[in-house]
Symmetry: C2
Amino acid sequence: MDIFMNYLKGVELKITKIKKIEIQSDNLEKIVRFATEWILENTNFRKPFFVEDAGLFINALKGFPGPYSHYVYKTIGINGILKLMNNVTDRSALFQSIIAFWDGNKITTFKGQINGNISLEPRGTFGFGFDPIFIPQNATKTFAEMTIQEKNLHSHRAKSAKKLVKYIAKNLFSLESTDPTS
Amino acid sequence: MDIFMNYLKGVELKITKIKKIEIQSDNLEKIVRFATEWILENTNFRKPFFVEDAGLFINALKGFPGPYSHYVYKTIGINGILKLMNNVTDRSALFQSIIAFWDGNKITTFKGQINGNISLEPRGTFGFGFDPIFIPQNATKTFAEMTIQEKNLHSHRAKSAKKLVKYIAKNLFSLESTDPTS
């Protein structure tokens, strides 16, 4: 989230430890929206905040692991995904990131998405999760072979974060005309 | 749930369509407990009710698919599980069912569990979900090769339901001494 620091100089970004409820759903937007509503209904937290969730959706596996990517990573892991993709021709997949942002008045969601393919073997040591087996479109490296700067040119999370920054600039700081992130 | 009809003759069992929240958790008990609390906090429903959830936990896959069994069944399915278990020696697994019951005063949970093994190929047409690849201990058939009566001798869900019936008989009807389900 360096993008906040570089652009919205007046904004302080903090990670807050509050209880979060993650529901089971095929739909990341429903998950982050429910989590945001739950915090508003069940805590006294009222500063602007956002909740982000992301997932890897593999077409040949009907979207699996999707919203359960973290659990799947912890259990069957990268090797499990590669085993499931063994002899599968269609290796297309996408990473999606959804942010739900409470601006003090209402909740708005922002989506970032990147299409790509599942590699034949894990490559690279940067990043986390399924980064070593995801090659974004128009790239030859996996996410785990990219520096954070390179990854930000492609990544789903960079895209959703840019939309959030743009929204904050426009709606909370009236910075529309000088927005460099679009 | 024939067991209700056969034993607790005064009790009427109905399936109720109310919004249910299923959280993401490795722990089925947390999932059904949260769902029950959420219904009490967010609806006017106050009759005694229960919520049940179940999952297949495969040891060699670190408990996968666990609480996400339904989603995993819908996406990678039985063939996906068998592919993940290809060349895996330890085929041990367990089915778990947890019931959270609101008796009008408090929530109590009941656990049913059956150990078994993942078969080498799907067998049988009864039941649902992963029944065709689960062979309970002390059996040679998969759940999907068993009639409902046979399956009830083994199944996790029959075990949790029996505990619930016993609890209702004892606490709501004072039927302790004549309980035939223990």
